[in-house]
Amino acid sequence: MSDLHTELKESIIEQLNLEDMQPADIENNEALFGDGLGLDSIDALELIVLLEKDYGIKLTDPNQGKQIFNSINTMADFIEKHRTK
């Protein structure tokens, strides 16, 4: 697991107040929304802010969100390609 994957999991746990969860509890391929981690639309907004604040990525097309936030792996791939900080 890369540093980015771990960092991302730690940020998500902190930002979304996932109390009692550890980074190891989130699988890299696990779905973040729906039946996986069970995040909802408010969490999606929190993740959009997280991308911009921590990695300088501003999402211009809201439809991208569904693919980007599918799992930790898809988020990490997207961040590696588009990060500005």
């Binding site: 930002q15 979304l16 107040n17 996932l18 109390e19 009692d20 069970g38 408010i42 907004l45 929190e46 802010v49 911009e52 604040k53």
Partner: protein, 350 residues
Amino acid sequence: MYINGMSNISAQPDDFLTSAEIIDIQGNILSAVVRPYRELIKPMLLRRMSKAVKMGIYTAVKSLSRSGLECPDAILVGTGQGCMQDTEKFMQQIEESKEQLLTPTSFIQSTHNTVSGQIALFLKCNGYNMTYTQNSVSFESCLLDAQMQLELDEDIQNVLIGAVDETSEKFTGFQKLDGQIKAETILNKELFPSSSPGSIISESAAFFSISREKTPRSLANCVGSKIINEIQSSEIEEKVVEFLSEFDLKPEQMDAVVLGNNGDHRFDDYYQILQQGIFNNILQLNYKSLTGENNSISAIGCALAVSVLQHQKIPKKFRANSKSASKFRRILIYNQYLGRNHGFILLERP
């Protein structure tokens, strides 16, 4: 209207209304004891809730279940300050991000009516939902509205009513600036003899399940309540007599009075005048040395009175004088804060 179930959270343990044990607390800002919220609330919901919301939902659900009810017809919540923790978090984010990149959760949860809304969502209650933010008479405002709803709307049979306030690190600290919190650190048992301004500020929640009709589970009958925003201390006895006369009662017909002394030497004279005057021969109870002061604390005073009517006994720690009563049938609760917003509640044994 009849109180059929209640639950409260304060700086004291769960059973403090009936227990003889005295928990001494040092500090001028008291946190409420954390309850096992996970027993009732799913972790995915709990993670977004501030302390006020957790305390509100927990006590609301407990009070309803103790009355044998799942969902009320109306929800009324009083809060003097609202969700302070999320408001503070949200405002800190505004400052830190220079008004950019604000996350939604704190903002959504920062409104004053978050608690009543979250209780309604939790209970799936689509009925009348109202929040009163009226300083120290927020709870009494809810009682008055409950009375009116029961009188005006025959479809409303059961009302959930309560009050909740939380502290937050910075905002509560501001109360020091205008002398609401004592400058010197004080042990709670030293509060009443204190001769300095201010009190100890705290968090609390108390909810009551109320019905129009008496039930086998009824603990107390709320005969009436009244709010008077401005009273001079010289008028307080007259106002109490006026309130009681609305029910053809006299001060000497009270079996006990629950008074809101908070150790602020500037304003405790309202209580002291009553203690040395019309209630001199009546059993007097105090509770704020145990719970601290906040805008919802009169709901805890009300819970104490309900507990006395239910159990017919009073732990020594609440007694402010040596008077006694053979039976507890009728109790007056009186509270004010900073000499303003005076609330009167009259309870009777059902």
